[in-house]
Amino acid sequence: MNGLDLPEPHQGGPLFTITTEPRLFSPLDERERRLLAGALTYQALVHPGVDVRVTITRANGSTPPSLTDQATQRVEWPDHRQVVGTLGVLSTGQDTPPTGTKDVVVDLGGPVEQLSGLVRLPGRLNAVRNAVRARVPVAFDALRQRQTDRFENRRLSRPLPRIGAFERPEHTAGSAQPPAVLFGMHWLELGGAERWAAETVRMARDAGLQPIVVTDRDSAHPDVVRDVFDGALVIPLTHPMTSDDESTFLRALFDRYDIRGVHVHHCTWLYQRLPWIRAQFPGTRLVDSLHVLEWRTGGFVDIALRLSNVIDEHHVISPQLRDYLVDRQGLSRSKVTLATLADLTVTAVDQPHDAIGDDGPADRPLTVAFVGRFTQQKRPYLFLRLAQTLHRQLGDRVRFVMHGDGELGDEVRRDHARRGLQSVVEMRTPSTPVSTTLEEADLLVICSDNEGVTLTSFEADAHGVLVISSDVGSQASVVVEDLLVPRHPGPLLAQTTDLVVDLARDPDRLAALRAAQHDKVAAFAALPRARDWTRDLYERWNS
């Protein structure tokens, strides 16, 4: 359709046409092309019947894209941006010639590798906070956990306010437009919630519905290039947008598609627009998927609760969330569906491999692994300290693999070197498949200070790896009770050390616990599956 080879939605045809052929001064990669397509779709939809002249820029350094926000309306930009091209677009579906022109500047942001870094909040206080966290992460963490205790107690003792309920207006007549699902996502980056969201996008397409994906968090959106988004209408929103543009944009989507349902995955912007959608488009079903209870901030669960009166169904992936919504917050049991992601990363709960092998750990080192993003939530620095203590106690009878990367990556690598753990802890980047690490591991240590249910736990069990985990979220659903350790860093390190020492010396106990873990994971896996629930839902939406 165009010289840029921009992606198109697989149903309903393109939402804009090219009016001025692109002039490119620098080639765009696939990620940039997809971001640009999202930006052009948005700009065309909010300026219907107007010839939109687009200047495309690219930034140096860690600048996130600017695709839909008010800054796109200004024809000046900071010095660190360079122009990479220009073109003109016009929204399709207009019977009359263009009524004017509008200039916008779309910035594709900096390189991916410079955008996945730690999100540093501005201000001197935050700089001090980050410095303290980097220097004394365990002490910082201990204080943080005490603060979390207070938040947790407060949250459990307070009911949350709700928006007012209103009668669902009369169902409007069906439309002749292509049937679609509007998805709200946080961003298109790695994460358990994102992995599930991407899977639902695929399932919507498989069900014959056009997936429309909006995101609301600044990001380079590296996953936009994944196959699962082929044919989806992906519009990464950047804020702030004007309120006029927001409603024009949403209304245009509803005009161009018969949006049968909205499925919100961790997307604040879309959550907050659900009451308006319910009022204006009452035929559209509204559901969300919730993953984790954030004791500190409330997170998406609190937003979902606040808006529950306009949401038809809440999908939760863990029993903990079900109990929180139904038992603590009083939502109707029929409105909350527990459907797990147990099969999202492993196809079936097979018999565990004999990870220890015939020779057993007595004849070779016990391998203890950490697998996950290097973030504050996952607390990789605790694993390094654990490795140091265990190496001191067990010497070469234990080895460690640390698999991952992320915003704390540089700090972790510095800490790794400073503690002299180069020969003790093998560092692996995400370029190595997780399965390779799990094939080698006997024990997986999950140090997180918050989780829903870690998908890694299922993968570990499928590889016969025993999981030791902090007792957070619904980890109790998949981790053997003896191997749940406190969230606070001091007790976590002490108890995990004792457990690993004991397991290194007692292979029989390790084997027995592995069997108990497999039973527990199997019981969890027997709960309803999210895939089944979603498939049924989308089939109903498309019937």
Partner: protein, 300 residues
């Protein structure tokens, strides 16, 4: 939506009655989805009785290494049922014979009461009869001031403040919010403390058409005038626990009123002074005794 109902039976050295209890639970028209039997380290032939049920697909037997009392047993069994994902937990002693339809009536009565009241109600209990059909004096639920609120609308339900652990069901949300019975109480007043703890969320309900038989030797309520050397150990727990409850969960005046009632009962029964002194010490111990609720884990 179908509820997952778990029955919890706590037993200690009542092998002769336990089999009938389990049979009556399993014979309910509205079948329970699972039965958790907590054996409080019985020393009689309870193990032989339980062996008959070991392969029953609905029965899980938990044999504790030591006797934890009724309070510990119910806390353990309720936690287990909760972890297994039960929506409703129905608990009883090992000498409680549920009559046909008892659990179905409880579920139905509880749901109807909630519907009429427009709110969630934290427990529903049966009417407890003695072997001859009389009301069992030890297990009378205490009605609320507006106890007839549902009766006047044709329901066979009475609003209550407390009841004993002889055929009472708790919805999952109540356990999530309020935790488990206090194990530390060991025996006596654990049921009163627990049900009174739960009514912070609203009254309980006694379902009049749900009935059970409590197979006690004699039909007599708790009376401090009955204290003797043989039953002293139970009264010691009872006094300590109730003193603790009145002082810490109500107020010192409530504790004083309990002391007065205790004194009058002991005096009325001419209980020997050495036993009165021991109970006075237990009262003082109760003031210092303040166990806190524990909460079960969410597993399934």
């Amino acid at each position: 939506m179908t509820l997952d109902v778990a029955a919890v039976v706590v037993t200690f050295n009542r092998a002769d009655k336990l089999g009938r209890v389990l049979d009556d639970v399993l014979a309910q028209e509205r079948p329970v989805d699972r039965v958790v039997v907590v054996d409080n380290a019985s020393t009689d032939h309870t193990a032989e009785v339980l062996a008959r049920y070991a392969d029953h697909p609905k029965i899980e037997i938990m044999v504790l290494p030591e006797n934890t009392g009724g309070a510990g047993g119910f806390a353990t069994g309720m936690a287990r049922a909760y972890e297994q994902g039960a929506d409703v937990v129905w608990i009883m002693d090992d000498d409680c014979y549920p009559h046909p339809g008892a659990v179905g009536a409880l579920l139905h009565g509880h749901a109807a009461a909630e519907d009429r009241m427009g709110m969630r109600l934290p427990f529903a209990c049966s009417v407890v009869q003695w072997s001859n059909g009389d009301i069992c004096e030890m297990n009378n639920a205490e009605p609320t001031w507006d106890w007839a609120k549902l009766l006047v609308h044709g329901q066979q339900n009475v609003l209550v403040n407390s009841c004993s652990f002889v055929s009472v069901l708790f919805p999952r949300w109540a356990i999530t919010q309020f935790g488990l019975p206090l194990r530390e109480y060991f025996i006596w007043f654990d049921d009163q403390e627990y049900t009174r703890r739960l009514i912070a969320a609203g009254p309980g309900v006694q379902v009049l058409n749900s009935t059970v038989t409590h197979d006690l030797g004699v039909n007599r309520g708790v009376n401090f005038g009955d204290v003797n050397d043989g039953n002293m150990w139970k009264f010691e727990y009872g006094v300590r626990n109730e003193a603790s409850y009145r002082w810490h969960r109500e107020d010192p005046f409530a504790a004083a009123r309990f002391a007065q009632r205790l004194w009058q009962g002991l005096a009325g029964g001419n209980v020997p002074w050495r036993l009165r002194k021991r109970l006075a010490k237990k009262f003082v111990e109760g003031i210092r005794f303040d166990p806190q609720p524990t909460f079960p884990r969410t597993v399934l």
